[in-house]
């Protein structure tokens, strides 16, 4: 047995339909006249004439990615693959590599030999930024991906990503970073490990 659903009562004017039509028409007509004849700019128009007019984006707008730089200009990225693992669109491609013999970073961290983001496939969800333990990837450029005629133009490589500045012009991150061997480094390193 189904449960009987009580239908809403309709008043006489609602059932006669025409008065309701008149009501609806009055509403739409009032919008029409207001928007057509009030000063051309406003009225209640909610859309803008993009690209001539542009809205200001919120501060946390997620634009094209960038890779943040260290003091020496190399990427902060340690090629941990957290971002490419988190990425739901699977559009980040990273090939990690070891630092060379004698490099103080060798044995501590890797670096991305190849770092490519397919901006056509990206859904701009920001998961990569959330996942990154090193504050190495950010979406604070405030830019749209500029249009292009070829798909390849949307594959941003490491050099390009590194060169993109944040909306405030900086290519670094405001968060501090401790290089291996740095005495202020809070963790354990080779010298302090007691081995």
């Amino acid at each position: 047995m189904g449960k009987p659903v009580k239908r809403p009562e309709q008043s006489l004017s609602e059932r006669a339909f025409l008065p309701e039509v008149a009501k609806g028409l009055t509403l739409t007509a009032s919008r029409f006249f207001k928007n057509t004849f009030s000063s051309a700019e406003k009225g209640d128009i909610a859309t803008v004439r993009y690209p001539e007019e542009q809205r200001e984006y919120p501060e946390r707008f997620r634009g094209v990615h960038r890779l943040t730089q260290r003091d020496d200009g190399s990427p902060r990225c340690v090629a941990c693959l957290c971002c490419s693992t988190a990425c739901p669109a699977q559009c980040i491609h990273i090939e990690p590599a070891e630092y060379g013999e004698g490099d103080p970073r060798q044995g501590y961290e890797k670096f991305p030999k190849v770092f490519v983001i397919d901006e056509l496939r990206c859904i701009f969800c920001g998961m990569c930024v959330e996942a990154c333990p090193c504050d190495a990837i950010r979406m604070d450029t405030g830019m749209h991906m500029p249009p292009a005629l070829e798909r390849d133009a949307f594959l941003l490589d490491k050099e390009l990503l590194l060169s993109l500045p944040a909306a405030d012009g900086s290519v670094k991150s405001a968060n501090p970073r401790h290089e291996p061997g740095d005495k202020t480094h809070p963790g354990i390193d080779r010298d302090r490990s007691g081995h």
Binding site: G24, L25, T28, R31, F32, N35, D44, A46
Partner: protein, 398 residues
């Protein structure tokens, strides 16, 4: 039509009038595409399309989006004209024509202006006490007839027929064939369903449409549209709208259903039928269905203006100029005619605007609701209107 016009003159006049009415339609139809998009934008608090531009004299002209219809039609001309495999090629090609031609044909009986006397364009004309047009002049300070008008009058109407409005119904009845054939010839289930829905809906509303206009016909006592407009000349309150308000509403509803537009657009319901009977049409063939729809909108407005809004009558404007009580502004026949044609065009535009308002305000009916509305409400009401009108006329005459 006066017998003293030579064949050549008559042909010339007919060509001129056809050109005017076709020109009007071909001018209003793109305007309608534009109006539909911009008006809906205004209703929905949007800016609407305004970007199509043309580069002339070193700058881009956008003309508040008026160029979009032209861009659209260019696009349609260049699109692939696809005929689905298994379709009936001949019928598939003919259906859009069968849809468009009757819609244009019906416009032939619309009187878009009063009878015009080409010899008297500069004179002031008036009706003599016997009801015959004559040249007016001041005799002893009073406006009166000074000379008989030339008998060479040209009705501003392509076809002056005794059958008059019946021709319009006959042509309108053919329109359904185009939609049904288009659906049938496409070899597509959705098209066929759309065609059947269109046929069912249009045939049903055809009945109501005809019967609603019987009321005004009884009042005017003629089938000739030009006579009807003259009948409504004495004041605004003799316009069909005031004498037959119920018929006006019924006519408007039924005619909107005939145009197959929202809220009566189930024949092309996108959500369940893709595009209805023109699913399989592309390019200019689709454009013709589209155009036929707009011609029907214009025809609806033109008939409504003729029957219910005094046709080319402009309030207070008589043959001899504006008259308000003692005040009389004499005007030449030429300018009076121009004003009246202008008045007719404005009425048509306002009625079209109203149709667009309805189209963007009301949601679509279900198919059973459409049929119920037609057979259970509109039809009995239109019959009631006829009976009441008839009774009142008999009562007034006795």
């Amino acid at each position: 039509m006066s017998a003293s016009l030579s064949v050549g003159q008559a042909l010339l006049a007919a060509a001129g009038k056809s050109t005017f009415i076709l020109g009007l339609v071909f001018a209003i139809a793109p305007l309608l595409v534009w109006a539909e998009r911009r008006q809906s934008a205004m209703i929905q608090d949007r800016v609407g399309p305004h970007r199509a531009s043309i580069r002339l004299f070193g700058r881009d002209w956008r003309l508040i989006g008026l160029l979009h219809p032209f861009a659209d039609s260019l696009k349609m001309v260049w699109k692939e004209d696809f005929i689905p495999p298994g379709a009936d090629k001949v019928l598939h090609a003919f259906a859009p024509w069968i849809s468009l031609a009757p819609a244009l044909f019906g416009l032939a009986i619309i009187p878009f202006g009063p009878a015009i006397y080409f010899e008297h364009l500069g004179d002031t004309l008036m009706l003599s006490p016997q009801g015959v047009p004559c040249v007016a002049g001041l005799a002893n300070g009073v406006l009166g007839c000074t000379a008989a008008a030339s008998p060479l009058a040209t009705e501003l109407q392509v076809a002056t027929l005794d059958a008059g409005i019946l021709l319009f119904f006959a042509a309108g009845g053919l329109g359904v064939v185009g939609a049904a054939l288009g659906g049938y010839a496409s070899n597509n289930k959705y098209s066929l369903l759309g065609g059947m829905r269109a046929a069912g809906q249009m045939v049903s509303y055809e009945v109501t449409l005809g019967l609603t206009l019987v009321g005004p016909l009884l009042v005017f006592g003629t089938l000739r549209p030009e006579e009807m407009v003259r009948w409504q000349s004495s004041s605004v309150f003799t316009w069909g709208f005031f004498l037959q308000p119920l018929a006006f509403i019924l006519y408007f509803v039924a005619a909107m259903a005939e145009t197959k537009r929202v809220p009566f657009d189930v024949p092309e319901g996108e959500s369940e039928l893709v595009g209805g009977y023109f699913t399989e049409y592309s390019g200019m063939k689709f454009g013709m269905f589209f155009f036929a729809e707009y011609v029907e909108v214009i025809a609806l407005a033109a008939i409504a203006a003729t029957f219910f809004c005094g046709g080319w009558q402009v309030p207070l404007l008589t043959d001899a100029g504006f008259v308000l009580g003692q005040l009389h502004v004499p005007m030449s026949h030429g300018s009076v005619t121009a004003l009246r044609v202008g008045g007719f065009v404005i009425k048509v535009l306002v009625l079209i605007w109203f149709q667009l308002m309805v189209r963007w305000s009301l949601p679509r009916f279900r198919y059973d609701q459409i049929m119920r509305l037609c057979w259970r409400y509109l039809l009995p009401l239109s019959l009631l209107n006829i009976v009441v009108t008839f009774a009142v006329i008999v009562w007034l005459r006795s």
